[in-house]
């Protein structure tokens, strides 16, 4: 955005400006029409539905805050809020730590580096539902390969009930989410790492910095802006996760893994309570706004660090 077009000759200026606006808007039209029709309008409609008692097959009437009042007193809703925050927090921290570690490893001089980079991204390319099915089989109560291996090693006596026990189920879905999220974070951070000039590291090591100091005082500050953006995306997608839970546990056992998105689906579509489902979805918006604001300030900081104006 820093470069500027050379202003056209003065005589044609107004003429040109008009045609520019006209062309611009004409070119924007297809995308704008689509997004207004299928993004802005549904967003508004969703907020409206949250204030109605709409059910499948019948448009509802305005009932004010009744849905929210009901949800406020619904322990299942609060469990899902807790689960969502817990799931997002733990999974994001783990994804960030492991992703950064993997990025640092891949940033070293390795043989077959591009090959490793390519296969590391695989979990992210494969459809979540299909890899979640594989995890479902891996987490099978009777024939789990993890249980079998641990039993062979003599570490446990009976198969682990991965998805049947509340605590185990939470850990299992987080593990599957982390598995799928690491590649995105690792590859994005790797791109960030590659923009850091090696001469900075060399200068620091000549000054006697240990490798930990080089990481903490050189690499990390240079990486902060991209970390902010990547983690915003990661938090956003983890917070609104639906597929993984829907495949692995459908919210069970005893709602221990119900996220807000899965609860919203369950109440809204199979349950038929469109209004209530929409209200749960709307309740996610404040969290998402917080994440977006965080991203915005992350971007600002990046520009400031690079000395750019725009």
């Amino acid at each position: 955005m820093s470069s500027q077009s050379i202003p056209p000759p003065k005589a044609r200026m107004t003429d040109w400006l008009q045609s520019r606006n006209a062309t611009g808007l004409l070119f924007m039209l297809p995308a704008a029409a689509f997004l207004i029709c299928f993004l802005t309008y549904p967003l508004g409609l969703g907020v409206w539905l949250g204030f109605t008692d709409a059910k499948i097959g019948r448009s509802g009437v305005f009932i004010g805050l009744e849905n929210y009042w009901y949800l406020w007193h619904d322990p299942v809703f609060w469990t899902s809020v807790f689960n969502t925050v817990f799931y997002t927090l733990i999974a994001s921290v783990l994804k960030f730590a492991l992703g950064l570690w993997l990025a640092l490893i891949l940033n070293e001089h390795l043989p077959f580096k591009s090959f490793f980079r390519a296969i590391v991204l695989l979990p992210w390319v494969v459809p979540t539902v299909l890899s979640a099915l594989a995890f479902w089989w891996i987490f099978d109560a009777q024939f789990s390969i993890i249980s079998w291996s641990l039993m062979q090693l003599g570490w446990i006596d009976a198969p682990i009930n991965f998805l049947g026990d509340p605590t185990n189920a939470r850990i299992s879905v987080i593990a599957a989410n982390v598995w799928r999220g690491i590649p995105f974070i690792a590859i994005s951070l790797l791109a960030g790492l590659q923009t850091i000039s090696p001469s900075l590291q060399e200068a620091a090591s000549l000054d006697g910095a240990t490798s930990w100091q080089r990481f903490r005082l050189v690499t990390l500050p240079m990486l902060t802006p991209i970390i902010a953006v990547v983690m915003t995306f990661s938090v956003l997608f983890t917070f609104t996760d639906f597929q993984l839970i829907y495949v692995l546990t459908k919210g069970g056992p005893v709602n221990a893994t119900h996220l807000m998105a899965t609860l919203s689906f369950q109440r809204g579509i199979p349950g038929g309570q469109l209004g209530e489902g929409a209200a749960i979805a709307v309740a996610m918006i404040p969290f998402l706004l917080a994440a977006i604001l965080f991203s915005f300030f992350g971007l600002q900081r990046r520009k400031w660090q690079q000395g750019g104006q725009d």
């Binding site: 995308a31 993997l102 709307v282 996610m284």
Partner: protein, 297 residues
């Protein structure tokens, strides 16, 4: 040790400070963790593949057969999948929906990105920001109102519903990515075309698009992958078996009751992943650039 490491330093061709890390140290700090990462990240795929070709009696009999290997692999699960279920139809549906929505989104995104980045009409900056914000709106909060809208438009339970709703996340993504690509094309090219009397349309088609081909490929294959992987809209808007996409079909029709046909399920998962994996293997660099491009801009 000291002598040999001195010689290593003299003969070292590697860049930077890699001479600080000797081999035994590298094994522990780099190769070992890398091996663990690669093992964990790839194991589910191996497990998927090996289950897909395992005969049923070996599938759950861990005492007589090693679960990690397969004796006398079978194609029964795959045969069952292809001939006794609607799987080929789902594959075709997914393909149609993914291609349809990708083409639609890409076309809309090219115009929008060019307009925001190069035509620079009044309000192009806020428009760019809005596109970015639209990218951040997740499908999980849109699917209920969208279901209502899709129903109003009479598209419920049709592939059209998916082709028209997937662009909600594809257009913002493609536009954002293409804006970055267009930004890197020198203004001078456009200016000289303008001087030669080219219209905006001609500039876009004859100057900008040929130069932005890598960007178009990146955005296209990425959009294709995103729509191939989409689940919640397909689950909500599609009811009849013949219109289902792969993820929905496998999950809702192959999972029946308490008897899990793990072989067929895993074969379904494997074949459903294959098209995107093949596409990915041909365009790894485009994927990486679009992924990091979308984050960096």
């Amino acid at each position: 040790m000291a002598i040999s490491s001195d010689q290593d330093v003299l003969n070292d061709n590697a860049e930077g400070m890699s001479y600080l890390n000797r081999l035994p140290r590298r094994v522990v700090t780099i190769y070992l963790p890398l091996a663990v990462f690669v093992f964990v990240l790839l194991f589910p795929f191996y497990w998927m593949a090996i289950t897909a070709v395992k005969p049923n009696q070996q599938l759950t009999n861990y005492s007589e057969y090693s679960p990690f290997w397969v004796v006398s692999p079978t194609l029964d699960h795959i045969k069952y999948l292809l001939f006794d279920t609607s799987y080929p139809g789902w594959l075709l549906n997914t393909m149609l929906v993914a291609i349809g929505s990708t083409v639609l989104s890409l076309a809309a995104a090219v115009f929008a990105a060019y307009s925001i980045e190069r035509v620079r009409f009044t309000g192009s900056r806020p428009a760019g920001l809005l596109i970015f914000l639209a990218y951040l709106v997740p499908p999980s909060i849109l699917f209920i109102p969208l279901a209502v809208i899709v129903f109003q438009f009479g598209m419920f339970d049709s592939k059209l519903a998916l082709i028209f709703t997937y662009p909600t996340f594809l257009i913002p993504f493609c536009t954002w990515l293409l804006m970055g690509y267009f930004r890197s094309i020198p203004f001078e090219l456009e200016e000289s075309a303008l001087v030669d009397g080219a219209s905006r349309w001609q500039i876009l088609v004859k100057v900008i698009l040929p130069l932005a081909v890598p960007g178009l490929i990146s955005a296209g294959i990425f959009a294709f992958t995103l729509s191939w992987n989409e689940f919640i809209y397909a689950l909500t808007f599609i009811q009849s078996s013949e219109n289902k996409t792969i993820p929905v079909g496998v999950l809702t029709e192959l999972v029946r009751g308490d008897v899990f046909e793990w072989g067929a399920l895993m074969a379904g998962a494997l074949f459903g992943s294959l098209p995107v994996v093949i596409l990915y293997s041909f365009f790894v660099d485009y994927y990486v650039s679009s992924m990091t491009g979308a984050v960096k801009e």
